[in-house]
Amino acid sequence: MKKSSLILASAGALLLMAGIYLAFFVAPDAVVRIDDRELVRYSQKIFYFHVPVAETALVFLLLGGFFGAMYLGTRKRSYEQMSYAAVEIGFIFVILVMITGILWTRADWGVWWEWEPRLTTFLVLTLMYAGYFVLRSSVQEESAKARFGAIFSIIAAVNVPLTFMAGRLDSLKPVHPKVFTLQGASMEGPMLAAFLVSMFGMLLFATSLYIMRLDLLRAREDIEYLKEELEVG
């Protein structure tokens, strides 16, 4: 493993461990009041990982679109690799959002799936980015693959906020657990700390994965290049 990605991975992992500790042992349990009765909502603990995963996914998907645009503008292969790697990391995290989201839905509402705006949004994103990989594998020529990949990564990135906005329209009633925004009880103190630590940990860890993926892509290209050179003589 490259030094930079090793450092990032360990720093991320450490922060994530700290996040677990803070979430379980320091942050207070979430409590909802229903008719004077206090109910502990233990499932809220999922929040400390679910949301950082979601934010990381969005960061990398948007980065994928950004580097895609850089590739089209400059035609430097390295940007195309950066775009592809970013979309792949983003996609892994989108899948994680789906898994954790489904588990949270089950814990909170007793059902595995709810057509709820944000969950639906992420399902759409999952399918859209699955399309990105299908598209790439369906194009043969390397340069066309890069070009169409970059273009679709931009279209998809533009569509991410639009999908979120559409989810807010009234046809889908928002029932996502708004744990902290209810009645002004916004995140504070230990809860916020636990969340932020997890958040940064996740971002660092994802970045280390990103660097590894990029290394792999570059090494692959070197190999292809060397093979060709050897054949040409």
């Binding site: 399309g131 070009r147 279209i155």
Partner: protein
């Protein structure tokens, strides 16, 4: 030969050429129309029970039919260009790339709208729906506004899908997730109109559709050069 060719003339020539070819064969528009009507028949048989509640689900049924029908047409729209190498001929002529996009998009918009103009009355008759004249105006406006987005995203993505190995299969996979925000808004708007909801909510959805249209027109304008030329 004039040095600068008028952009309007070029766009118009592309639309005219597509319309002429379509008038000759009529294969696309008729197939699209039959598809929509058949879809309605299938819906009526598949969802017999909920059809009592058509005020609320009717908008959804209509959009499902329109969406799949539009993909049928969009898939065809670049086949002529690609098969005889015409796209290369087009690219070698002194036309700005975004103009090719606008020409193809306007053609698709036209075909889509014509088919829907015939399909909507049939939909209302078959499902025994009624609507006042003032509401009908807003209803058609919503459909047309959505068509702009569908034609725009569809033309952009079908230019990509025509270059892939799987061609026709690729378009739905790319197109549907990208069009879903528009679909949500369109269903909410038409559904709102049909069930007699407050117009403010309908206008909210229509505003979203307009924003979506503008954003993707800009995206297509910026990206089309890269989509179409190497």
């Amino acid at each position: 030969m004039s040095a600068k060719v008028s952009a309007g003339k070029q766009v118009f020539a592309i639309v005219k050429k597509d319309v002429l070819a379509e008038l000759r064969t009529k294969e696309m528009v008729i197939a699209m129309f039959l598809f929509v009507v058949l879809a309605m028949v299938v819906f009526s048989q598949a969802f017999g029970v909920i059809l009592n509640d058509l005020d609320r689900v009717g908008g959804g049924l209509l959009w499902v039919a329109f969406l799949f029908m539009s993909m049928l047409g969009l898939n065809r729209s670049f086949v002529h260009e690609k098969d005889e190498g015409c796209l290369e001929g087009l690219l070698m002529s002194p036309i700005d790339r975004p103009l090719i996009f606008f020409g193809k998009m306007l053609g698709n918009l036209l075909f889509l709208s014509i088919v829907e103009l015939f399909a909507v009355p049939i939909f209302f008759v078959l499902f025994r729906l009624e609507m006042g004249a003032s509401m009908a105006g807003i209803f058609l406006a919503t459909i047309f506004l959505s068509n702009i987005g569908i034609a725009c995203v569809g033309t952009l993505l079908s230019t990509i899908s025509i270059n892939t190995k799987t061609r026709d299969l690729m378009l739905p996979i790319l197109f549907m997730p990208v069009i879903i925000p528009l679909l949500i808004a369109a269903v909410s708007a038409t559904g709102g109109i049909m069930s007699g909801e407050e117009l403010t909510e309908v206008y909210g959805s229509m505003r979203f559709i307009a924003v979506y249209d503008i954003i993707f027109l800009l995206v297509a304008y910026a990206l089309y050069d890269y989509v179409i030329s190497e």
